[in-house]
């Protein structure tokens, strides 16, 4: 199932790259994600996500996204101070319809380190903070619908909704994975608020919204 998705995404890319080579005057856009940094700042983190988009004459859009994310959250478990810190890359292809809608499918790779810190009290000798680390490398696929809103001749605001499917399950040997850079939250608040005797398991399906600011170079 997973291999089939990767195969279809790669073949789509190759066919559209071929189409691009046969088409003159592609438009090139530089983009920057502007909503995720605001959301991440609530979790004492940041997101830097630039992108490059090629739009062909037939409205096909090829996009490459690079990203760096740091997300923090206290209380993923009752006493665990969690941090996800990593990089990701996404390559996608879509088609713009009526200069507004753009369904897009992409393949992503995320490499990140999760750190879980717990403070143990030491009334006699002093406190100790234990640090657990998990390193992750995950492939995921993403379906997006972008909405191109023209602000000026060169500037677009592009809000989007996305659904992400992790092709590999995170390694949760030490503690549950809360966030996958590039994909989003994989543990949800309603599970974290409940007081359970078991460890929560991350979901392989997630989603969200974001807003890109695009600048047309040519």
């Amino acid at each position: 199932m997973n291999n089939r998705i990767v195969y279809i995404t790669i073949m789509s890319w190759l066919s559209f790259l071929q189409a691009m080579s046969q088409t003159a005057e592609p438009s090139v856009y530089l983009g920057l994600e502007v909503l995720k940094p605001v959301i991440a700042s609530v979790d004492r983190g940041y997101v830097f996500e630039p992108s490059v988009s090629y739009k062909l004459k037939d409205e096909t859009v090829l996009r490459v996204v690079l990203g760096k994310t740091v997300v923090n959250r206290y209380g993923v478990l009752s006493n665990l101070d969690y941090q996800a810190d990593g990089y990701y890359v996404k390559a996608g292809v879509g088609r713009r319809i009526r200069n507004f809608f753009e369904p897009n499918v992409s393949l992503g790779y995320s490499a990140f380190t999760e750190t879980g810190k717990t403070k143990f009290s030491g009334p006699y000798y002093g406190d100790w903070v234990s640090t657990l680390k998990q390193r992750q490398q995950l492939l995921f696929t993403e379906v997006q619908i972008n909405f191109w809103i023209k602000i000026s001749e060169k500037i677009y605001i592009v809000p989007n909704v996305r659904m992400v499917y992790l092709l590999q399950r995170p390694n949760e040997a030490l503690f549950p994975t809360y966030y996958v850079p590039g994909a989003g939250h994989v543990l949800f608040e309603q599970f974290l608020d409940s007081n359970t005797d078991t460890l929560p398991k991350s979901s392989i399906l997630t989603g969200g919204i974001s807003v890109n600011l695009l600048y047309k170079i040519f």
Binding site: L77, S78, N79, L80, G116, T118, F120, S121, G122, P123, Y124, Y125, G126, D127, W128, S130, L132, L174, F175, P176, F191, L192, S194, N195, T196, D197, T198, L199, P200
Partner: protein, 153 residues
């Protein structure tokens, strides 16, 4: 006579309210008792664990203490002493003070293993594989089930 009238008045007027208050108190007490049981479900520890040291002749010592920046005496009991282990390092040195001012020393090493247990309990700590570091001033020291037995005769 006056006080008995007051008592009767309180009894008639307030008895219903007192019953309600007592019921609420009973329910809250039960809830607190249950929440106490709930907390105990967690395994591992969230603070310094203690190691029990059984001493053959505990009266030979006035007190014990774990080595740190200042001496904080831990009184001896009829079986020996229960001493906290340091979490800041994987080693603790315990001193035993005799009435004559002599100090016997015992150092132990161990593994600190944090384990994510559950959403409610979070990460708990296990101290495993306690071992005695030689040399020690005691003739014979043995460890059984993370409990230390000292022969000081």
């Amino acid at each position: 006579l006056y006080s008995s009238h007051v008592f009767e008045f309180i009894k008639k007027v307030c008895m219903k309210k007192i019953r309600i208050l007592l019921s609420v108190y009973a329910v809250i007490s039960l809830m607190m008792a249950c929440s106490g049981c709930y907390e105990d479900d967690c395994n591992g520890t969230d603070t310094e664990p203690s190691v029990v040291i059984y001493v053959e002749r505990p009266a030979a010592y006035t007190y014990a203490y774990g080595v740190k920046d200042r001496v904080e005496a831990i009184p001896m009991s009829s079986y020996g002493v229960s001493v906290p282990l340091s979490l800041r390092q994987n080693k603790t040195t315990i001193c035993f003070m005799t009435p004559g001012g002599r100090i016997d020393k015992l150092s132990v090493t161990y593994t600190r293993q944090p384990v994510a247990e559950s959403l409610k309990c979070g990460v708990r700590l296990y101290v495993l594989d306690i071992r005695v570091i030689e040399p020690t001033t005691f003739n014979r020291v043995s460890i059984v089930d993370n409990q230390i037995y000292i022969n000081n005769e």
